[in-house]
């Protein structure tokens, strides 16, 4: 009896000790956007379920990218979970910097992750980052201005239709511009849009031998089309407009159409911030009939840096934050319009979510993007609006500066393309391609 009591007490003590040893404090690096901020507010739910606590390091996207790259490449261990995108995931996984997420629990239902997201966040068929939310790009347009122009937006328009509509909707005297597009230089700014658009025009960054293709007719057509369209129907100062600037213009009723991230749909339809919330329609990003549309594919995803001491707790957090239950938690607190979109198939089968006006077009946009076959002609790289090689960010930022300068009228399209070809060729040669 005595022995049994001693053993019982010892077991209880060891369980307590195990429990307290298991409770970890996780440090998570993330970006400052609506969905991530919302998650920070709901962290108590995770803590109450697991006992683990969470500390957040929230940074602007570009600062975060530099910060986590420094830490993971030096094995600094400052973060237990990192928020990364589709660009970093395959590169970092190839370097062995990330923990494979190949044994997630059965209840998590990893097969429910949208195939496009899973493909973009995997390396060699293994998932290395779990999508927190995903996005593509689509057309957001003013239904009233479109009707005034005597046009009706099809679900899957061509660039010819969009350009014609943009010119007809433009009313510069009343400060209304037919189309707002990204012009600010940066690989994630104007180059995300222009690269995705170039796919629809049959252009590609590199041929199968990694030779740059900016001297091709397809690139010339793409850039001239973009410059002419924004010149005729774009807002003044378009070369300095990024996502936020165009969002602001659209919300104030100054854009007839805006082609940008699908997550913007919830902003432009929110009557608290948007003056045109009840006059917005959605359509797929345009094409030119060559079999590729101009939409991109992106996901903000959660990944575990290799070598973390808290892998198990980090895995628990990722399962919590990217689970179906989390989506339901957000819906119960903030409504279905505010749940993180674009990550799970089941969300788009949920009858509550189907009522959201932009849900169908968001899903169709995501499904129509293929990061493994992004272009009309074959390419040696993965990525729709980027090329998943470490050199791309630097090269594309420089190319973006040339294109932005052309949009500002400082040089012609031909000059910008010549410079883009030369600098890309130099950089690729230096990188050993």
């Amino acid at each position: 009896m005595y022995l049994r009591n001693v053993l019982g007490a010892a077991s209880a003590l060891s369980l307590i000790a195990l429990g307290s040893a298991d409770a970890e404090n996780l440090v998570i690096a993330t970006v400052n956007n609506g969905d991530m901020v919302r998650m920070q507010g709901l962290t108590d739910d995770f803590t109450s379920k697991t006992g683990h606590t969470v500390e957040w390091v929230t940074l602007e996207e570009n600062v975060l990218r530099q910060r986590v790259t420094t830490d993971i490449s030096t094995k600094g261990g400052a973060f237990d979970i990192m928020t990364i995108g589709m660009y970093e995931t395959p590169i970092w996984a190839k370097n062995g910097w990330l923990v494979a997420l190949d044994d997630l629990s059965a209840g998590y239902d990893a097969d429910d992750i949208l195939p496009a997201m899973r493909g973009g966040l995997s390396y060699d068929g293994t998932l290395f980052a779990a999508p927190f939310y995903g996005e593509s790009s689509m057309i957001m347009y003013r239904t009233d201005l479109m009707a005034n122009a005597g046009l009706s937006m099809p679900d899957a328009p061509t660039w010819e239709f969009v350009a014609d509509a943009a010119r007809k909707m433009t009313d510069k005297d009343n400060d209304i511009y037919g189309i707002c597009l990204r012009g600010k230089a940066g690989w994630g700014e104007n180059m995300a849009f222009i690269t995705a658009t170039s796919n629809a025009f049959g252009a590609r960054w590199f041929d199968e031998n990694w030779a740059p293709q900016f001297d091709s007719d397809a690139w010339s057509t793409t850039l001239n089309f973009y410059l002419d369209l924004l010149g005729d129907a774009g807002p003044p100062g378009a070369s300095t407009n990024g996502f936020n600037e165009n969002l602001s213009l659209f919300q104030q009723g100054k854009c007839g159409m805006w082609i940008d991230a699908t997550v913007a749909a919830s902003f432009v339809t929110n009557p608290k911030d948007s003056t045109v919330a009840d006059k917005v329609g959605f359509a797929l990003a345009p094409d030119t009939g060559l079999g590729r549309r101009s939409n991109w594919l992106w996901a903000w995803a959660l990944a575990i840096p290799a070598g973390t001491q808290k892998e198990s707790a980090a895995r628990e957090f990722i399962e919590w934050a990217t689970s179906k239950e989390y989506i339901e938690l957000v819906a119960s607190k903030e409504g279905w319009a505010n749940v993180p979109p674009g990550a799970r198939t089941s969300l788009y089968e949920n009858p509550n979510y189907k009522d959201i006006p932009f849900a169908r077009m968001t899903l169709e946009s995501i499904l129509s993007a293929d990061p493994l076959n992004p272009t009309v002609e074959p390419v040696p790289y993965v990525g729709v609006q980027f090329v998943a090689i470490p050199e791309f960010a630097g090269i594309a930022t420089e190319v973006g500066q040339e294109f932005s300068a052309a949009l500002a009228g400082q040089q012609t399209a031909a000059e910008a393309l010549d410079k883009a070809q030369a600098l890309t060729a130099d950089a690729m040669e230096a990188a050993g391609y």
């Binding site: 440090v27 690096a29 970006v31 400052n32 956007n33 609506g34 901020v37 920070q40 507010g41 500390e55 957040w56 390091v57 929230t58 940074l59 602007e60 996207e61 570009n62 600062v63 530099q66 910060r67 420094t70 830490d71 030096t74 094995k75 600094g76 261990g77 400052a78 973060f79 994630g188 700014e189 990024g242 996502f243 936020n244 969002l247 602001s248 919300q251 104030q252 100054k254 991230a261 997550v263 902003f267 608290k272 911030d273 003056t275």
Partner: protein, 276 residues
């Protein structure tokens, strides 16, 4: 002989000075005004200057989401600690350069300043690796050391310039009276140089308070100062200008108040080299 200045000229100079001052201050004023707007008002076109629905909602949101006091305390420790440590190192260095110069003193001074011309990112990886090795990552101690080293050339230069204005005869007299080196610096030189040291401390405090490269890159969840607090409200995908402005106003308020009360010393410190 001083030139006579007419009252009309004086008024003109005052007006120009006010105009220039307002232009320089305008971005800060605009940030403060934006912090009291809603997000929709913050981006309205034409911009709203004073006539909008004033709200303190953004401050509430920022306060709810972030532990402002923790960031503020980190800023105080890091800026104060690095300044204090910098002055302790720089006073003997400046004394030696000002009163017992060698053939290479000028070269050393210029070399020290040249380190400020190196882009910080060029040494990010070596310093990051050192921090990992020494366990200094995300610690206030680490940032105190780094910011002290970064501001040291400026602190030494300012103190050197100020010490050069003090007649060496006074120090020699102290030595003749039997003062030790420590006594000479602590009881003779430093009391005479109080205004110069004060303005140096103020400038170093401001530089350390505003430093954003190292404070963002060497911290994570624990040691982040107010620069990290501001950075957490910046976003390229989403309009958070009003909240960002509220965070910025909260971050600059302490240093703005300090600068306001000590502007005389600050101006003297920044200009004494130019008026010699």
């Amino acid at each position: 002989m001083a030139r006579a200045v007419t009252s009309r000229r004086k008024a003109l100079n005052t007006m120009i000075a006010w105009a220039v001052g307002l232009v320089i201050f305008f971005p800060i004023l605009w940030t403060i005004l934006t912090s009291f707007k809603s997000e929709a008002q913050a981006i309205s076109d034409p911009p709203l200057f004073l006539f909008f629905d004033w709200t303190i909602e953004n401050y509430g949101v920022v306060q709810d989401r972030s532990d402002y006091m923790r960031y503020l305390w980190n800023s105080v420790i890091i800026a104060g600690g690095s300044t204090l440590l910098g002055v302790v190192v720089a006073v003997p260095a400046a004394w030696s350069m000002a009163f017992v110069p060698s053939k290479r003193t000028k070269d050393i001074l210029l070399w020290m300043l040249s380190t400020k011309m190196l882009p910080a990112v060029g040494v990010l990886y070596p310093i990051y690796l050192l921090f990992i090795e020494l366990g200094l990552l995300d610690t206030r101690t680490g940032l105190v050391i780094v910011l002290m080293l970064i501001n040291l050339p400026i602190i030494v230069w300012m103190l050197y310039t100020y010490f050069k204005e003090i007649p060496v005869d006074i120090l020699e007299a102290a030595r003749m009276d039997g003062a030790t080196l420590r006594g000479e610096i602590l009881h003779v030189l430093m009391p005479m140089a109080v205004p110069g040291i004060a303005s140096t401390i103020l400038l170093s405090l401001i530089l350390a308070w505003n430093e954003a490269f190292w404070t963002l890159n060497l911290t994570a969840a624990k040691a982040g100062p107010l620069t990290a607090f501001i950075a957490s409200y910046s976003s390229p995908e989403g309009l958070f200008f009003a909240k960002l402005s509220a965070a910025s106003t909260m971050a600059i308020a302490p240093i703005l108040i300090l600068g306001w009360f000590s502007q005389k010393q600050l101006v003297r410190g920044l200009t004494f080299g130019a008026v010699k």
